[in-house]
Amino acid sequence: MSGARRSALATLRGQIERIETAEVVHHRDRVALGHSEADSALKGGLARAAIHEVFCDGRHGAAATGFVTGLAGRVTTRKPLLWVRQDFSEIETGALSMSGLAEIGLDPRRMVMVRAADVESALRTSADALACDALGAVVLELWGETRQFDLVASRKLTLAAQSSGVTGLLLRMAAQPLPSTAETRWMLRAAHSPPGPVWSAWGAPRFDAELLRNRHGPCGRWIMEWKCDECQFSESSAYPQPVAAAPAHRPDPAVFANGQRLAG
């Protein structure tokens, strides 16, 4: 490699460094999720004043909603939350229930819901809302693939979030991940309750969360559990293990179930 080319590369690297560090200055404000591995991958927690995308398959809409609700609950505890949703997603996965929200541990009083008729008005509303620093977080819920949400729209949201300090959470149901300017991108699936007798206590929200993209750290895949009382995520070994020892000649049921789900 010639010297000129090497110096050009070095200049470019320097530029990239500058751009990235400029963003890091904005992103220094992070909030820990409570799941230690995820927090270490995220360098301390979820960045405020940025956009985070959560994708899911159509069937796992409720799980992804739970995850996004959890993120919103972590990001802000006192400020209002603006939830922008498209009319169609309510038909597909049901309306966000305030009783359910209260059960998850969030305060329904802080929730303002915007029922946007289409993607354009939803995008415009959320860009407007992200610029308003009275809000704690803005959730934009879209169903299906959309042409309108391109790199330009995504950049607009990111800039608005950076200037105001409001966190933007995108819930993309039944959509495939695409390049965007988001800080993190997640793929969500519902996770099984931990193995145990059928009649034992179960039902705490559990997520199989895959971190697909992380601008400032590694990716990963974890089983995360939401603690409704503490209002934070945690590792998944919350329930007592079955008393009977697992048979040695068979694979662990949790691993087995995991593999099955991957295949499906």
Partner: protein, 500 residues
Amino acid sequence: MGSGSPDEPSIVVAKDNNALVIHALDEAAERLGLHIGQPLANARAMCPDLKVFDADAVADAKTISDIADWCDRFTPLVALDPPHGLFLDITGCAHLFGGEAALLQTLVRALGRQGFAVSAAIAGTSVCARTLTRQASGSIVADGGEAAAISRFPVSALGAGETISTGLRRAGLKTIGDVASRTPSEITARFGARFSTLLAHALGQGDAPINPRKPLPDYIVEKRFAEPIATDTMIAMTLSRLADTLIASMEKQGKGARRLEAAFFRTDGAVRAIMVETGRPVTRSAVVDRLFRERLDALADPLDPGFGFDMVRLSASRTEIVVQEQRDLDAHVHDNDELAALIDRIAARIGGKRVVVHLPEDTHIPECAVLAAPAQHHLAVALQAEWPARTESEPPLRPLRLFDKPEPINVPFATVPDGPPHQFTWRRALHAVVRVEGPERIAMEWWRQDGKQLTRDYFRIEDAEGLRFWIFRDGLYEGECFDDDGKPAPPGWYVHGLFA
């Protein structure tokens, strides 16, 4: 009425008692001796080459309402006088148009240019003015001169109906002056109290209030243009200047606007009114300006200037007294203000009903437990609402996503009576039940007598994939569900919500 050539007689017919009769006619037809109420067959016999049109009451009403909109430029108090009339209360407005005569002339000429035949008059009472339009269009009667002005007109000009007019003529009372010369008690005894009141009003003795189409706004500012404006920049600039003036005049009285209306008067007579509402009284012109920009931006059918607007009016139709508060020290109050302003902006763009907050309702029925209310009006209430507290150390008992209408599922074979299903089909996919918790029985509210509703047994269910459902059986086994013959039928199963 302006269509058709002047020589060719044309009439409008309407159906009356199963016969087509003349509803309206033009001057050429009138010269031929035709009159309103004459059957079409007779008219055809008199003049075979009549042009006949069908009456369209809806279009007539629309036209008169459009004309009334246009007349808003002279006064905010415009009332309809069916079927063809309009009352304008011009008290205190005439000087703005160079006096009563100039106003009358402007109005008649402008409507004439648009192709309408108008007769108009100004008088101290509405009934007197209406009488004048029938006989002496263009006249202006000063206060106190009503009786003298109308005394020589025939009684039919009063518009009291065919029966009374004929009765008066038969009694030998041909003109209004003749009728007025009798004592009121005689007239009342023969023609009823209603007619005598009408007569008194026509003669200027007392007046009935008109019934304006729109309530009078609290504050109005307007701008007229000698040269019509059409560009977006000019419209925006005009609106923001008007907003400045409006806010300044409201500020003097310590008021803020809750509902604002901008009316755009097009040169060709069309009027477009655009309204914005706010959750809190607005006291800054920049906010008004921004709200209207959002609204204009998002109009489904955009503002069409055509050949330009010659007048723009901004009015505050609902105002509230503003309590000035010290706000800088309390960041929380400031935040709520910002949130209210954001809600107003979004509501201006996509409509007030689409931005909602939630209020708890006192009921056990899951789909009725929450009321979504427009955020503009209920934000303060929602922030103070009392929600039922969740049970500590329990997993969520209510689903995060709830279907507005429970979706039926197919449970293939009966299990233990009153028990949960082993598998079910929902949206064409089979779900095998792995874990169940329940039942949680929710009985319907028998004290509300709105139809028979069945008791529901709810189950929280996890399937083999880890998806969690909230399903219920609608009705008790062999207790509540019957088929058409009255025999017990298996109850239906539904998915009502999804847990995270």
